[in-house]
């Protein structure tokens, strides 16, 4: 079992080194990530009532939910790489992260247009007064530096360690995004709870992995202190 699964992940990893296969896989992920937006746009243009009696609410909900899902998928890449031993998965992380940012931007844009009808005094009042909007807005603002520095050139410019430090902001973004959903719900928190649980697993994995690493180091070098 172990041997076959190892060889399978090795084979996948090997395949992902081929430019064509990688490009194909990226294109597929890209299409999949854009599909919800395409489906939404299609309905808005052709048949808004297919989105229910309150199409604006549906659009806001769908874009927000996909921003959150893609964000969690982005955060799932590192644990998945370690568990499956398919290191090549890292090549899809930027695509997923940028898709999450894209949905976040559309989500904010819809709120500005549909909910607040471009009245900016009301929008700033919302951001200041309403915790769920404050945290949602903060999450998106914090994603901007991450999106800007997502290019290879930016990694080179910043240097690997500094780049990584900056991109740890994504943990804060994810926590704020889940809070945003949680605080928005009127009474039934089942859905936000599911996202919170997934995020807890993804962050918990990292905490445990780090603690293990530390204790492993500690036993190797007992005199290091």
């Amino acid at each position: 079992m172990r041997a076959t699964s190892a060889s399978l992940s090795q084979r996948i990893d090997e395949a992902l080194r081929h430019n064509r296969i990688r490009a194909g896989a990226k294109a597929l992920i890209w299409l999949a990530a854009l599909y919800p937006m395409a489906a939404l746009s299609w309905k808005i243009i052709l048949d808004p009532l297919a989105l229910g009696a309150n199409p604006a609410e549906t659009i806001l909900h769908v874009t927000g939910e996909w921003a959150l899902r893609l964000l969690l998928l982005t955060l799932a890449i590192t644990p998945l790489r370690r568990i499956t031993m398919v290191g090549g998965l890292i090549r899809f992380r930027r695509l997923l992260g940028l898709s999450a940012f894209f949905y976040g931007v559309v989500h904010l844009g819809c709120y500005i247009a549909f909910d607040r009808f471009f009245v900016f005094t009301e929008i700033t009042a919302d951001i200041i007064k309403r915790p769920f909007i404050t945290v949602g807005f903060a999450a998106l603002v914090l994603m901007i530096p991450l999106a800007i520095t997502s290019t290879r050139a930016a990694v080179m410019r910043l240097g690997g360690a500094r780049w990584q430090d900056l991109h740890r902001l994504v943990y804060v973004v994810a926590i704020l995004a889940v809070l945003h959903f949680w605080w928005l719900v009127k009474r039934d928190v089942t859905e936000p709870l599911i996202y919170a649980a997934i995020l807890a697993v993804l962050l918990g994995y990292r905490i445990i992995a780090r603690a293990r690493k530390r204790s492993a180091r500690g036993s190797d070098f007992p005199s290091a202190r």
């Binding site: 909910d115 007064k129 009474r187």
Partner: protein
């Protein structure tokens, strides 16, 4: 001396009217038919009792056109059938709305139970009201009913009656949402007596020219057009006249968000969202600026003279 045996008289409301048992038979027949083709559960609407209702017209309409009936009957908040907006339209057909009677008790001279037939026999009137949900969307709905004060006159409230509480039916076998603890069941809502007796407060039995669909609160609900929608309790089984102000379901759930009065008020925000504007469904843009008392200020503002509506929200 032996007391005369008190034979309980069966009110017409306790009898199942023929159209209902006939429709139940046809429902069973159609269920059997559907079952044989593997489509059971498909005839969801069949258990609803939708019948034409005669009503006088002429009550002044709002400036916006009446909302599409499909919107009003598929986008509902009725947590007893589930917390999503589409759940009530999917699940409410399970509610048995005949026979039905409403118990009217409390600080009244003549407490009594009143059957749905007797309620339907009141002279009915069509009232096209704006409907503003606390969630900042609105519709324009042609309700059918009669003024609550006419119902109150039957039971003669005493001078101690200061509030009126409405209780929604609680039937776990027919209402899947009752399994959830989102609210403390049964759903209750209340009005101050002068609000209840106001001519705009409507005992509502129908909409769009027909009896109420179950998801809209069949067979009898209250409609209070200058307040947020949740104040207008659905599928009412009990009306109590009370001396003390009761705590209603939403206030109990979150007092800072849902006050006793809940008058539509663009100047008092819900703690989590602005009430300044609303989306008149199905519009994408919330371009409509919310009016004080939902546009019924000329009629009801005097009820709140001298009150701080920020405190009494």
């Amino acid at each position: 001396m032996p007391r005369p045996i008190d034979v309980p008289r069966i009110a017409p409301s306790e009898l199942t009217p023929p159209n209902v048992w006939l429709s139940r038979r046809s429902l069973i027949a159609s269920a059997v038919a559907l079952g044989s083709t593997g489509l059971i559960g498909g005839s969801a609407q069949a258990a609803q009792i939708i019948e034409p209702l005669k009503a006088s017209t002429g009550f002044p309409s709002p400036s916006d056109p009446t909302s599409d009936k499909k919107l009003a009957t598929t986008y509902n908040n009725y947590y007893e059938f589930g917390t999503s907006k589409s759940a009530p339209a999917m699940n409410a057909h399970r509610l048995t709305v005949r026979p039905w009677s409403v118990e009217i008790v409390g600080e009244v001279m003549k407490p009594r139970s009143i059957g749905i037939e007797e309620l339907l026999a009141f002279p009915l009137e069509e009232r096209i009201y704006r409907f503003r949900c606390v969630e900042a969307w609105s519709m324009v709905i042609p309700w059918i009913g009669f003024e609550f004060n006419k119902l109150a006159a039957l039971v003669e409230p005493t001078s101690r009656a200061k509030f009126v509480r409405f209780t929604t039916v609680e039937r776990p076998s027919e209402m899947p949402g009752l399994g959830s603890t989102v609210l403390d069941w049964p759903y209750t809502e209340a009005l101050r007596i002068d609000e209840a007796m106001h001519p705009l407060t409507l005992v509502t039995l129908g909409m769009y020219g027909e009896t109420l669909p179950n998801q809209n609160g069949a067979p009898i609900r209250i409609v209070v057009p200058w307040k947020y929608g949740y104040k207008s309790a659905k599928s009412i089984v009990k009306i109590e006249f009370l001396e003390k102000q009761p705590v209603s379901s939403w206030t109990k759930a979150a007092a800072n968000e849902y006050g006793f009065y809940s008058n539509v008020n663009p100047n008092v925000d819900h703690p989590r969202w602005s009430q300044k504007r609303e989306r008149l469904l199905p519009a994408l843009f919330a371009s409509r600026e919310t009016e004080m008392f939902n546009g019924y200020g000329a009629q009801v503002a005097s009820l709140y003279a001298g009150m701080d509506l920020k405190v009494n929200h």
